[in-house]
Symmetry: C2
Subunit: 258 residues, 2 copies
DNA sequence: CATCCAACTTGATCGATGTCAAGGCGCGAT
DNA sequence: ATCGCGCCTTGACATCGATCAAGTTGGATG
């Protein structure tokens, strides 16, 4: 609360280039139009955003920052279902019934909120809005598929590598020597819950990667990937992630052999 | 190929009540309208449906049967990302790039296929279609969240219980004694790949459940849940699954506060 | 500057689950 | 009917990752 960063201007809250849902850039014209019909929420790290207002279905559009969508089934520890970046969208009905769902800001972030009914109406009147929403959802569903494969098939090292690559692609800036630097908006427990790992195990894997020189020792809340290529070699999902997230970065989308 | 069941009439391919995406019943008016603009694919068990035609983005609407969406990352075994039932929808862009994706019929099934662009156009002209599609997607995203929690947090017994409950709710018919009977359209390996388990482990868990009397020994391609309540008690996701899938059964869609 | 506390690290140990291999069952083919 | 094959089951064993506990770090606070 005391160290909160004041939001100055839109779109550059984080160091990295904003990662957007597929084509729609973070501050695409569509989100500007939507902003006129929506409430703009500005959140700090750790803040929880209510998923329903007045028990009405609600829609959210992330304009900046990183958030997590979490689900807790009775008797188990929470699962971080998805990381949400600029351009991503959310409906409260995306959270399963009879489960505790939470939308939590991992960093200072900016989110548009409106009734789902209002958004559906806008979308009905403007194909650009409908298309933006559909494409954002498609993008996120594809990421969810990668996440499912990560949870179901990868060993712990592959999971961690996958996570680091995703975050680096979405919020990182490359250094000239093949490395990347980015903010780490998550606690160890957050990451563990995203990857379905034990926090201790996660710590061990990170240490191993650090010793191997793939990642660097970093200050609090900051991460350094020293050798992106080597990290990518560890993750079976690397190519997919680069294809899906890469085109938000500077580089032109190469995407050979798709 | 030789034992294929001939499709006689729509909507009753499987024994159970069709499970639909939220409100839209399996053969809701919307899918009837869409059928006029789409190709109708009829598939047998094991048949793979091409996700793209002419490298154009394609949309699918499941009208009957069960299909699986599978993703394989290089160097790992496949992950069954989702089971698709009547009412569910799919865009080819839901499959991550640079990964091998496949849509495979688990049972005799019926699927509508059309260009995504054509569906988007229809949706733009008819809010009912747009709403049907959006709600179907929301429904599936919520199920994906449950699946992620299953893969990330549940132990093997909880995973198997969760799977059996989902399938029972979607395709099963209840017997009077608290049990349910349904077709088992998946091989042991399919289920294992859905749950992120080893097939041998799955076999062991099923044996344990059988010995405990929760499920019954069944003929080939058929499953019997003897004690649904006891099975539900094993799965932390049971309440969510019942809430999400239950309303395709007899009960009218209550959904208060939408 | 000293202290406190939360978050992280790391070692030792255990158990759940994966792996391998042998055996059984059922279905289709001959 | 019998054979052969694919799929499933089950036991023995190996291994990865979870758990527990002690120690360390670093930032916040007075």
């Amino acid at each position: 609360m005391t160290t909160g960063v004041k939001i100055e201007s839109e779109g550059q809250l984080r160091g990295g280039a904003p990662c957007s849902a597929s084509k729609g850039a973070a501050l695409s014209p569509v989100t500007v139009v939507l902003a006129a019909h929506a409430a703009t929420l500005r959140t700090r790290r750790g803040q929880t955003v209510a998923l329903m207002s007045d028990s009405l279905e609600t829609a959210f559009i992330v304009r900046a920052g990183v958030l997590t969508l979490q689900v807790t089934m009775p008797g188990t520890s929470r699962q971080v279902v998805a990381m949400l970046f600029a351009g991503d969208v959310l409906r409260s009905s995306y959270v399963p019934p009879c489960a505790e769902g939470a939308l939590v800001a991992a960093s200072t972030s900016e989110v548009l909120r409106m009734r789902w009914g209002a958004l559906a109406e806008l979308a009905a009147g403007d194909p650009a809005i409908a298309g933006y929403f559909e494409d954002a959802v498609a993008h996120q569903v594809a990421r969810q598929a990668i996440h499912a494969a990560t949870l179901g098939q990868f060993d712990c090292e592959q999971r961690v590598a996958t996570f680091l690559i995703e975050l680096a692609l979405c919020t990182g800036v490359s250094s000239q020597d093949g490395g990347m630097v980015f903010d780490m908006p998550f606690s160890r427990k957050d990451v563990a819950d995203y990857l379905g790992l034990n926090p201790d195990t996660l710590s061990r894997v990170m240490s191993r990667l650090r010793i191997a020189g793939l990642i660097g020792r970093s200050e609090r809340n900051r991460a350094v990937v020293r050798d992106f290529r080597a990290l990518a070699a560890l993750s079976p999902a690397a190519r997919s992630l680069i294809a899906i997230h890469g085109d938000c970065q500077a580089e032109p989308p190469v995407r050979k052999g798709l």
